[in-house]
């Protein structure tokens, strides 16, 4: 059973009487440990897809199963809990809270899962160590460089040990050198067994992932690059749903 199973998912907006199909009958499986990129030009529906996969939004039609649980009809409260425990987000603009220290930012998801202060502290430090940022724990986000901020954001995404990580244009706001480093970090996390979904408009970035899902006008087309799948583990089963 796949980690994420999308079946005939549509998202339809109504804009001034006009029907816009942001997602049109999309079916997709994501397996545990996969490193995937979702690529498409702006307005293609890739953001909508990520929002639905990330439980930030609900589909108009279709079913979604995440980690063995059907979530298309979940309440906002249940969705919040799922986001909290099973999903990590990394954004283009880092989205760290400017008034909190880096450590407090990383602790944030655990506050909402009701974890005790001391444990919260330890785990946040652990997550910062994993992204080589433990020495900046007490700094404010504004005192960090862009790459450091993004690494802090990645630590925050990792800290609750989520089942899947969504990164929305994670290098979009970084220079190419720093962007490379962030992508290298994602590759490393992938090798460590994390399930990562990279959302981008840039084919060059999408090229780092073994499996690429192209979105155009709300429909998907898929490519698998076996050469990038790595030798240390078998290529991910890129099964298109029937």
């Amino acid at each position: 059973m796949a980690l994420v199973e999308l079946r005939s998912v549509s998202k339809i907006y109504h804009l001034g009487g006009e029907e816009i199909r942001a997602l049109d009958d999309v079916s997709l499986d994501i397996h545990e440990g996969e490193f995937i990129s979702i690529i498409g030009p702006s307005g293609s529906g890739k953001s909508t897809l990520m929002h639905i996969l990330g439980c930030l939004d609900s589909p108009t039609h279709g079913t979604i199963q995440l980690d063995g649980r059907m979530i298309q009809d979940a309440s906002t409260r249940e969705l919040a809990a799922i986001r909290n425990r099973k999903i990590g987000f990394v954004f283009q603009f880092f989205n760290l809270l400017p008034k909190l220290s880096v450590l407090q930012n990383v602790e944030l998801p655990m506050i909402y899962s009701g974890i005790a202060t001391r444990q919260r502290h330890q785990r946040a430090l652990g997550a910062l160590q994993a992204v080589d940022l433990a020495n900046r724990a007490k700094h404010r986000p504004s005192q960090l460089s862009g790459g450091q901020q993004q690494r802090a954001a990645i630590a925050r995404a990792l800290v609750n040990d989520p089942r899947i990580i969504f990164a929305d244009e994670p290098t979009g706001n970084l220079d190419s050198h720093t962007g490379e480093a962030i992508l290298a970090l994602f590759r490393r996390l992938s090798r460590e067994g994390r399930t990562i979904v990279l959302v981008t408009h840039d084919p060059e970035i999408a090229a780092v992932t073994p499996r690429r899902i192209e979105i155009r006008d709300g429909k998907i087309a898929e490519k698998v690059d076996l050469t990038l799948a790595g030798l240390d583990r078998p290529p991910a089963p890129a099964v298109l749903a029937p």
């Binding site: 930030l56 989205n95 652990g126």
Partner: protein, 488 residues
């Protein structure tokens, strides 16, 4: 192999989806930091609450002070148990019986003593318009009364010097009298003016030209307020005598014009009491029968001595209506059905005091309520501004798993916290304010801050915080996370 940055965790399948409740202290911490980050703005926001709370407390303290002062005066005139029977003009339908009206006589006193068990004490009174002269001075007393010795209890008098005249003095119609300090002050001078307390026992006092021997004197009755004024004056005098040459001008006027607010006490001091029989024997033609001008003779038309009024004390205030009915029944018999008397109770006065206090409280409460309302609007305004500044923050919090309720609580806690801080500051301000007020006018009734007033005011400030926070909190909690994250 997955080297998670976290310690070993339960397998994902068993991770409960039940959402942990947000750490309240953490939320309070976030709120406090938010308040601290905008110190000046928060202070301005709190100002409304501070004003509301402090005016509420100060108002209630002032009213409480007035209430205590009024109760003091009420007790000084004999309390609620006192009933006064006065002559009254006949009702229209009995006008033709005016010739047969007997007026209030000593006979009524005996009848009430015999047949009105709800009445505890009876004191007949003969009131004489009197000019007292002694020591080369004249004074028109407020009250010159012929009474029985029992009047001491009814009028809440005590003897400070000498003795009260007794039954024998009454029986023999002796020319003795007991005076109040007001009378003494006018004729011999007050302690403040003379520098020592004069007790004119044994001196001769002329009442309307007839000589009386003073056998006793009442203490100086005064309100808490007056006592303070006197002490203050003494302190100031002491200060002056040490710092500067003593002022040698004429003594200040201590007449009643200056203290309209303490009329009850002035009345009580400016008195002369003499035995009932003495008054009847010596002044029978000059007795005042207030309100009723029947025959001008000192006798009722059945030959009993006419009285000016009766002072009655009943056993219990709870049975006031019954007691009045009983007195009325007895008097209707002795007056042969002619209603030439009326009752006056202190209840009316007490009612007036209560009404005044109620009004003061109501208007003060309204003002405090309005400023609390304004404070609440201020808080709501700031919270709305604050959440629109923090849309992105709310989006981030939601994306990492904050539920609607978590955001709601966070905003509400911040709002309540501002209100509580404002409330606490208001309580401190109110104490300072009350101190300030009483230092401006140390002789007025001292404002009394009650714990109840403090807690009610604080409770209101918290309530205002909750109410003002509700709408912004709902608004923030309902933000769509996707739109909130995109918000610039």
């Amino acid at each position: 192999m997955r080297s998670a940055p976290t310690p070993a965790q339960a397998p994902a399948a068993t991770v409960p989806l039940a959402h942990g409740s947000i750490d309240l202290w953490m939320t309070v911490g976030v709120g406090l930091r938010e308040i601290w980050a905008h110190k000046f703005r928060s202070l301005l926001t709190m100002l409304g609450i501070i004003l509301g709370v402090s005016s509420l407390v100060a108002m209630s303290a002032l009213v409480k002070g007035m209430e205590v002062g009024a109760k003091e005066a009420l007790i000084a005139v004999g309390g609620l148990q006192k009933v006064r029977v006065e002559p009254q003009e006949l009702p229209v339908e009995q006008r033709h019986l005016q010739e047969q009206a007997v007026g209030i006589t000593i006979n009524d006193v005996y009848a009430l003593q015999a047949s009105a068990p709800l009445v505890k004490r009876i004191s007949p009174e003969i009131r004489i318009p009197a000019t007292a002269s002694a020591n080369g001075k004249n004074f028109r007393t407020f009250m010159c009364l012929g009474v029985w010795p029992v009047a001491l209890e009814l009028t809440e008098h005590v003897i400070a010097h000498g003795r009260m005249f007794n039954e024998l003095d009454d029986e023999m119609a002796r020319s003795v009298c007991v005076i109040g300090t007001g009378t003494r002050n006018e004729l011999w001078g007050s302690p403040e003016e003379v520098g020592r307390e004069i007790v004119p026992l044994g001196e001769t006092l002329y009442v309307n030209g007839l000589p009386f021997t003073i056998v006793g004197m009442f203490p100086h009755y005064e309100s808490e307020q007056e006592r303070k004024a006197r002490e203050l004056a003494r302190q100031q005098a002491a200060l002056q005598s040490t710092n500067a040459p003593a002022a040698t001008g004429p003594a200040r006027d201590r007449g009643r014009g200056r203290r309209g607010s303490n009329f009850a006490f002035w009345i009580k001091n400016a008195t002369i009491y003499m035995p009932l029989n003495t008054a009847y024997m010596k002044f029978r033609s000059g007795i005042t029968y207030s309100g009723f001008r029947g025959s001008s003779s000192g006798e009722g038309n059945i030959g009993d001595p006419r009285l000016s009024s009766l002072e009655l004390k009943i056993h219990s205030v709870d049975r006031l209506a019954e007691s009045l009915q009983q007195i009325r029944n007895v008097l209707m018999t002795t007056h042969r059905g002619i209603e030439d008397f009326s009752f006056r109770t202190q209840e009316e006065w007490a009612e007036n005091i209560n009404a005044f206090i109620r009004n003061a409280r109501r208007s003060g409460g309204l003002i405090a309520g309005i400023s609390l309302l304004v404070g609440g609007i201020g808080i709501m305004n700031i919270m709305l501004a604050s959440i629109s500044e923090r849309v992105r923050e709310i989006g981030i919090r939601k994306s990492v798993g904050a539920a609607t309720a978590d955001i709601f609580i966070q905003i509400l806690v911040e709002s309540v916290f501002i209100a509580m801080l404002g409330g606490l500051a208001g309580l401190l301000t109110s104490v300072a304010l009350v101190r300030l007020i009483s230092s401006f006018s140390p002789t007025e009734n001292a404002p009394i801050i009650t714990v109840l007033a403090l807690s009610v005011a604080f409770g209101f400030s918290v309530l205002v915080g909750v109410l003002a926070g509700l709408f912004p909190a709902v608004k923030a909690a309902r933000l769509n996370p996707i739109q909130a994250l995109r918000y610039e």
